[in-house]
């Protein structure tokens, strides 16, 4: 029983990582209707920026805020320069663009900061949380920040004018334009926010997986999977999906004898396919109705 509780808690704390990433994925999917394959690399690059700021002597929380601001601006810049011209292009072209962006960001980060693994500090410390051996304060902090971010996003989208405008632009661009919303800038804003959320996710994950240009490879796959599991149209679903993924992965690794560490990922992905077959829109997503 103790093993079981242990594994669930461990699952929840890794799930928090996936939840962060899934949230960033869903944000950008909401804004532009595409899955951004370069999302993880953008988050990695942001994390490196914050690391560099700290190396220059900026205190943690200032570096944190500055990085979010830089990432936000960077996200908008990438959208304006590279992806706005592709807005009318077929999906395939966009996907190729994301892959190109992935290659560029990964390679540039490797050139600037090289591929050695770096330690990354945590503001929460890594002592046991509330006297429990099961979960460290950093993991608890990570879960806390993820939930805070989710609540913040919910409030933003439900109760601010600009949040409403963004939702309108994503749902029905033509009608949104007719009522005077600048849909093109709403998309840019979506990119900026997704990039900022990715930066937060990267900063939270870095103490766990260590900082290096390939740190996001595995995490992004889980982030996608979590987003699809929860439904690509629902930020709450993305977070729940992230936690579910973490728990399921840990339990499968512990209790199914043939699985072990090697097959953790395929098993998690098999779960996604099963969910998609029975509920194509994900657990919390809204089914899309086709009008002829």
């Amino acid at each position: 029983m103790e093993l079981f509780v242990n594994q669930i808690l461990a699952g929840i704390s890794t799930g928090a990582i996936y939840a962060c990433m899934a949230l960033a994925v869903v944000m950008i999917y909401q804004a532009i209707d595409h899955l951004n394959f370069a999302q993880g690399e953008m988050a990695m690059f942001s994390t490196f920026i914050s690391w560099q700021l700290m190396q220059w002597g900026v205190p943690y929380w200032w570096a944190f805020l500055l990085t979010i601001a830089i990432s936000f601006a960077g996200g908008i810049l990438i959208e304006r320069l590279l992806f706005k011209p592709l807005a009318k292009a077929p999906v395939l072209t966009n996907v190729a663009g994301f892959i190109a962006l992935f290659a560029i960001v990964n390679s540039v980060a490797g050139l600037i900061w090289d591929f050695t693994i770096k330690q990354y500090p945590t503001p929460f410390g890594s002592s046991p949380f509330l006297g429990s051996q099961l979960i460290s304060t950093h993991q608890a902090g990570m879960i806390g920040v993820t939930l805070l971010m989710l609540v913040g996003l919910y409030l933003f989208f439900q109760f601010t004018r600009i949040g409403l405008a963004m939702r309108a632009a994503a749902a029905l661009p033509e009608s949104a334009r007719l009522v005077g919303i600048n849909t093109s800038w709403m998309i840019a804003l979506g990119w900026g926010m997704a990039s900022a959320i990715g930066a937060v996710a990267g900063i939270l994950i870095a103490p766990v997986v260590f900082l290096e240009p390939n740190m996001m490879g595995g995490v992004l796959v889980y982030g996608f999977a979590a987003a699809v599991l929860g439904g690509l149209t629902s930020p709450l679903g993305a977070v729940v999906g992230g936690f579910l993924m973490g728990v399921f992965e840990n339990l499968a690794g512990t209790y199914i004898p043939a699985v072990g560490n090697e097959l953790k990922l395929p098993i998690a992905l098999a779960l996604i396919i099963i969910v998609l077959v029975f509920k194509p829109a994900g657990l919390f997503g809204r089914a899309i109705v086709k009008r002829v």
Partner: protein, 338 residues
Amino acid sequence: MSAAAEDAVTEAPAVEAVPKRAMTLGTGTSLAILAALLIAPLFVKNFIAFQMTMVMIYGIAVLALNILTGGSGQFSLGQSAFYALGAYTSAVLMENANVNYALTLPIAGLVSFGAGYLFGKPALRLSGIYLALATFALAVAMPQFLKLHFFESWTGGVQGLVVMKPDAPFGLPLSQDKWLYYFTLAITVAIYIGSINLLRSRSGRAFMSIRDNEIAASAMGVDVAKYKTLAFGVSAGITGIAGGLSAIVVAFVAPDSYTINLAISLFLGMVVGGVGWLPGSFVGAAFIIFVPNIAESISKGLSGAVFGVLLFIVIFLVPHGARQVAIAAQLLMGKLRK
């Protein structure tokens, strides 16, 4: 019903509609290229012949993806899984059952066809980005399955399998690489002609009607489920043959040769070659084989960035890939003649 949940079919389709005549080259051009390919090995070194063979093999795999995406409008990021399946089928048959290498190819194709057809069944419920993700999962899982201890006596586990490279038969005075070049060329031509005929057939028209408008296609009596799974199966089968060929030519298979990176390369090859333009598959294959090397020679540390920038240049300047270049060249030729 809330307005947000609507997705009007009048939106731009995921894949641009390509008329079937625009999918191929003219007969004269095709024969000229074939003739050039036939005499080329006589003038080049073995290594170049090997690289040209690899271009053809990747070209077949890209072609297979093109039938799926350009033909029936379905995505796949999982082609590497079928490629691996074909490669392993060939290698295991050659090494463990002593089957002649040429005979392993049809078996590799059949096994992959079966796997693709079966995978196409659940994938029927998915479309667009969800399908891309499901196939992506398949590609990620494949190397892990190949490493399983359970299969290790056949597959060699993490180490992989070394395969004997075949000599030229009938005492032909050709090196192994050049013989394999001609062997691959023959199969490539056969698959190319077969694919063109497939797309011109009744089934091909059914694929394209599904690509252009699924609802209209089903209203016209096209069995959407049947043709979608069939497209998946055919595409996987051809990819499997390409995989089998690669096992013979490279003379080595290992799980880590068939990661998601391979699937992404094949996908890029299709975009660069032009979606729905079959000859472009081979241009795209050349791109994914040679451009990383060129990028490396420009800058070692920045090879990924150079590759990415080149890809962006292709996307921005020629969004329809090699097809657009070919059409522009054709127009230019027409003008010059006048």
